[in-house]
């Protein structure tokens, strides 16, 4: 029974993904398919600190420092990762165009931005 539910969910997710792909060209004239991007957290900084991605992209932050960090929106609540200890990751899919400024709320000197277009 569980398997059936899971595969139904999987099918639904695939359909959703297909729908959003189909909708994208109408949104901003972009025809890039959604992509995966990586941001490394290392030496108390985000790298790259500025990232430009198409709508629908997923960005994954990986903490490579010996101390914990997090990823929080500078304004608002869009990005709100849990505490990331060494080697822990946090992913977020950007579904709307815009500039997303963020910082590490533990070490607020660490800042970055994702520009979604």
């Amino acid at each position: 029974m569980r398997k059936i539910i899971l595969s139904t969910v999987a099918v639904a997710l695939v359909l959703l993904a297909l729908n959003s792909n189909r909708a994208r060209p109408a949104e901003g004239g972009q025809n890039n398919s959604s992509k995966e991007y990586q941001v490394k957290i290392d030496n108390f900084s985000f790298s790259p600190s500025s990232l430009i991605v198409p709508v629908g992209s997923t960005v994954t932050w990986t903490n490579q420092d010996d101390v914990p960090h997090n990823v929080r929106s500078s304004e608002g609540q869009t990005l709100k990762s849990p505490v990331l200890d060494t080697d822990q990751k946090f992913s977020f899919t950007f579904t709307k165009a815009g500039t997303y400024q963020y910082f590490c709320a533990i070490h607020p000197k660490m800042t970055g931005k994702v520009v979604v277009q």
Partner: protein, 327 residues
């Protein structure tokens, strides 16, 4: 700077001793990279003299004895297990042993934050349990940013903040000295430094209003209340306003942690001091790409960790600060 050369500088300063007239800014800058070496600092009327621990041993005991003696420990980071120190419980125990070996048992302990590494209850439990074996039973805490990683610090406040004001700040009096514990690790803003915030500043202004200007003040908080190195976030945005409320007092001592090394500065009536960590050292400002944990050879680690012993002599308005390493 090597430990040997920092010791030399302290000895140089000791030569100037109490005869030195006022505070030589260059001298203090030179003192700034003390790392784990023992130093005795005697402050009288806002003027600080520093001595190597060796020299302190030859001092008249009256100068070192006080009516009130307490210990500052900091940055125990319980739960940390990376190469810079894979056994922070062992070095924390060494700090407690050091406290228990002091010739004059301290009246209490101040912990200036980063008690835990990841704000986990089990990390706080371990520290609380271990501190039960300390000669001083009373411990006063302020949080570090590592203690408030979840729920905006609610876990910390539930455990340590019962007697405090809303956000964890509080004050108390011991032997005529007024102690103020401040919180500067909550609600941090992007790109900024430590923050006290409006509510706490208002409380502080009110808290010290009733005190005579001759009352010695000891302020303790996690992030330094002076701009040690803003590029690494080592400072507090609104500390100037807080210190403004303390300008009229004859003797103000500010004790901080966060930077895992000892530093000292005097500005008018205010003496600033940061303590070493009991867990791992951090690099001197700007000497590394980032302020992350510093891996040193195993036989040097304990020389860079330590405790701070503080003595107050009633009637003389002087506070002596002695840093000693765990080595």
């Amino acid at each position: 700077m090597s430990m040997k050369s920092s010791l030399k500088i302290i000895e140089e300063n000791a030569h100037h001793g109490p005869e030195a007239d006022g505070v030589d800014r260059r001298g203090f800058l030179k003192c700034m990279a003390w790392a784990g070496t023992g130093a005795l600092c005697v402050i009288k009327g806002g003027v600080l003299s520093s001595y190597a621990l060796g020299a302190a041993g030859k001092m008249h005991p009256d100068k070192m004895m006080g009516e009130l003696s307490f210990v500052q420990i900091s940055d125990s980071h319980m739960g940390f297990n990376k190469p810079a120190n894979t056994d922070v419980a062992a070095t924390f125990q060494a700090a407690i042993d050091k406290i228990n070996a002091l010739p004059v048992p301290p009246a209490f302990i101040l912990h200036t934050g980063d008690i835990s590494h990841l704000s986990k209850p089990v990390e706080f439990d371990t520290v609380d349990q271990m501190l039960k074996s300390a000669s001083a039973k009373e411990v006063f805490f302020v949080p570090g940013e590592h203690d408030v990683l979840t729920d905006n610090g609610q876990g910390y406040l539930d455990r340590y903040g019962k007697a405090s004001q809303g956000g964890g700040w509080y004050s108390f009096d011991k032997n005529g000295v007024h102690f103020i514990g401040l919180v500067n690790v909550l609600n941090l803003k992007a790109g900024g430094l430590g923050t006290l915030g409006h509510d706490q500043l208002e409380w502080l202004e009110e808290d010290v209003k009733r005190l005579k200007s001759s009352t010695p003040i000891v302020v303790f908080a996690h992030i330094p209340l002076w701009a040690v190195y803003p590029e690494w976030g080592w400072g507090t945005e609104d500390s100037a306003q807080a210190l403004g409320y303390l300008k009229r007092f004859g003797s103000v001592t500010v004790l901080n942690g966060h930077i895992h090394q000892t530093m000292q500065k005097v500005e008018g009536n205010i003496t600033f001091h940061t303590a070493t960590s009991t867990a791992f050292p951090q690099p001197a400002p700007g000497s590394a790409p980032s302020p992350g944990p510093m891996k040193v050879p195993a036989d040097q680690l304990r020389g860079l960790l330590g405790i701070t012993d503080v003595k107050y002599v009633e009637g003389q308005h002087s506070i002596a600060i002695v840093d000693s390493s765990l080595a």
